[in-house]
Amino acid sequence: MSAHLKQDEPVTSNRLDGMKQGIVGQPLSRVDGLAKVTGTAPYAAEYKIDNVAEGVLVTAPITRGEVTSIDKDSVLSMPGVLAVLDDERLTTRAAQGTANEAPKQDPATVCYWGQPIAVVVAETFEQARDAAKHLKVEYRVHEGAPLDPHQVAPEEQEDETVNQGDLDAAMARAAHTVDVEIATEGHASAAMEPHAAIAEWRDDKLTVYASLQMPNYNIAELADSLGMEESNIRLVSRYVGGGFGSKLGISEETVAAAIAARELGQPVRVVMSRQQVFQCIMRRSETTQKLRLASDEEGKLDGFAHHALVSNLPGEEFAEPVLQSSHFLYGGENRQLKLEVARIHRMTAGSVRAPGEAVGMPALEVAMDMLAEKSGVDPVELRLRNIPDRNPEEDLPFSSHKLADCLRQGAEKFGWDSGPRKPRQQREGEWWIGTGMASAARVHNVGEAKAHVTLKSDGTAVVQSDMTDIGTGTYTIVAQIAGEMLGIPIEKVLVELGDTKHPRGPGSGGSWGAASIGSAVYVACEALREKLAHRAGTSETELDLRDGSVVGGNSLVELLDGEDISEVGHYEPGEIADSHTASGFGAFFAKVRVNRFTGETRVDHMLGAFGFGRVLNEKTARSQCLGGITWSIGVALTEALLFDPVDGHLVNCDLAEYHVPVNRDVQDVDVMMMEERDPVASPIQAKGIGELGMCGGAAAIANAIYNACGARLFQYPMTPDRVLAALPD
């Protein structure tokens, strides 16, 4: 049986609030936690498969050109080497998120330094790695590949362009203006688990154990890459050691493992080295952003312009959506927004945690801080004055809007001093101390999702979907929703995820997982409740379930009377997604220290206050926010992909040299979550959470650096050398 809900209308009342157990929202520990900490949760490369051969990708040490010959004999006689494959179906880039089709193939054409061109398979990993390094490959190099986004004529992304009113006139008549250029550097996802796959064929059926965020799309991408039917493929991704966008689309190791396993007639495992993950998986594009703000005496915006230049390889559709929240965060009648893409030969740019706002908001919110200073309006008050009633470009209502509450309550909890703000007011020894703040915004997304829920005759439930849990807590919130709706404790709910033999979930990405799969589970459970109500001789709305029984009536076991009942819940976003603007909102506050001799910045305290609809699990939601704030610290202070100016290769391609924040960089972090129900965002009134925590936080740190020491920086990350260069005398 199946139940379908396409959300065309707001959901203003909700079953989840009327339930007797109150499981949803509780700060429960992850149900998969024990398996993970005891090492019994298998990650992609860890499945016990007999007779597995090991594949290692061979990558090109040229920027652009063609493979003219591969001397397979140069390694075939090495110990243990089984095969060298340069099959034309090998993929050379990862698929973009939700692509649903094969990524670029043709390994003989090289478009970036480090691109996979072949795979070597051997009996052991070490043999394969050694052979991959020794394989003799000849190339015809195409010199002069553009590497610098500023040295090519960019392409305008016309669907992002907004020209509303007359910005120049607004700038000319404004009491206060800001006109500033701010740059951000590339970022890596740097997920803990490297990309890995084990492929195994049985006749014409392929099973791949892989590290994937979206098996629901990945299955089509793999089928298309291999030229086969989806129905002959099974993908398994039960546990994923972090994704952050890097595993949205199928990537090179998965396709290579499938091809090699077919060719050799035995299972093949391909695991990328850490360096390969950095060099041939998605990067976040660097950006150059120009912001112009025009306000009246009181800081109210009349003009708003945000232009961004990003980059990608020729032929890639993705353009870092820098302006995503700029379209609606603040008012201003006169608006200009423009996004341009420079075509250069660095590896593919794609989704990395919070694509768009992760870098757009840190730039916008520095510009707002400058406007606050110029207009003499407190930075918190300035944001409050500029919150629009409706989307200022499309004249749409907001689904819900907690920015003002986040700003006010966050400021109060942080102890924000709304008095006059001047830099260099506080010093402790070598350290200047300062505070800063920024707004947070991240568009809300949802995706079609199905989940199969079975209530078994013994009073336990099973939920199945190919949805993934990439460390975010999906197993747990799914168990909470099903347990809540069916009136059973979560210990009696078995959740099976990450396997395409189950119905299609939404996949994890764009912070849409919880709201989407949660809604599918909710829809299935509502239908199951109808059946139970019928058996109990009541209506679904009157059915009160608790601890495995109808309150004051029969137990579920009695009602089911030896029969299992099941439903596939099918949730689809509907028209309501087009008639509203839905976004998570929030506010960041930061206190930093800047060393007056060395320019080192340390973050002493950060507070994030967020409104993102219903919180399904206070603990896992808070953990997502802590992760986002940690990313904010990285964006602000340390993270930058460094590309060689001569051949464009990524030089800092491991976790020792690409600096994510370490424990000691993340000191005192506070998270406030606003109580909210968003009737438009999803049937369970929840919005995306994961990414909001990094959408603007870096600017709170940047603004605090300015407040601390008077150095206004226009380039992230704000490393000691840059701080020193910007210090006033």
Partner: protein, 328 residues
Amino acid sequence: MRPFAFQRPDSLAHAHELTVPEDATAVAGGTNLLDLMKLQVETPERLVDINRLGMTEIQETADGGLRIGALATNTATANDDRVRADYPVLARAILAGATQQLRNRATTGGNLCQRTRCYYFTNIDQPCNKREPGSGCGAIDGIAHLHAVLGTSPSCIATYPGDMAVALSALDATVEIASPDSDERSVPVRDFHLLPGDTPCRDNVLERGEIITAVTLPRPVKAKHLYRKVRERSSYAFALVSVAAIVAVEDGVIARADLAFGGLAHKPWHDARLSELLVGEAPSAALFDKAGDLLLEGARGYGENDFKIPLARRTLAAVMAEATETEI
């Protein structure tokens, strides 16, 4: 990683014998070497594990100094009561490096032999005169953020990345080396590492088959010991600039100023002229500036790392100000 033989000698003599041939490399903690083997930067055919040679003791010397065995772990050294009491600059430098897990494995001798973190050295598809003599230097026209500003050569601008050796240089420690053909030789740590010149493949003075047996510290002196490491994140990062300082002030004038610098050169940088300049003078901002001028007299930036020159000057001033309790 290539296949390799693994050998475990029980005596120094046997260790010498095994490590003299070019195809062998000695390994102790392996925290640096194994990573480089995975990247095929290091490709020994034989790995000679010297962990059975003892050499883990930390003991006082006849003249009141301290002898730290070559196989004492960084953790053991940093936690040793005598090191903490009498040579705190060494404990501080060690604890500023790596992570607890790495320090538990890393040894005194191995740490001295730590290889550079230059991005071009660790990528075998890039030119590097240190890894492959004559292949060129990718860093000079490339990403040189981490690179040297003192003592560079047209062949190499790599830095020695460690912290411990910078403190040892300030302490004027001695490296004891057992040689295959003679008994023992002693080399001041300040002379142990080499500048790149036109042979950047040589990091230090060790000859084939030689094995570091200990590092000896001179008698402790009464002074303030500081180790300042400047870096983008607060742990698990190599120094942009570091300063080890042993400084004493008596009667308002500087009585001792032994300084060494990390992150600036192919070796821990020690310039005897700094001590001569500072000792006997009253501490002041102007004096520290002069010291900075002297230190950086021959400094040369390569674009990306130009910032290290002012950063070194400022860090030197900050450390001297702290050590002498001078407000600047």
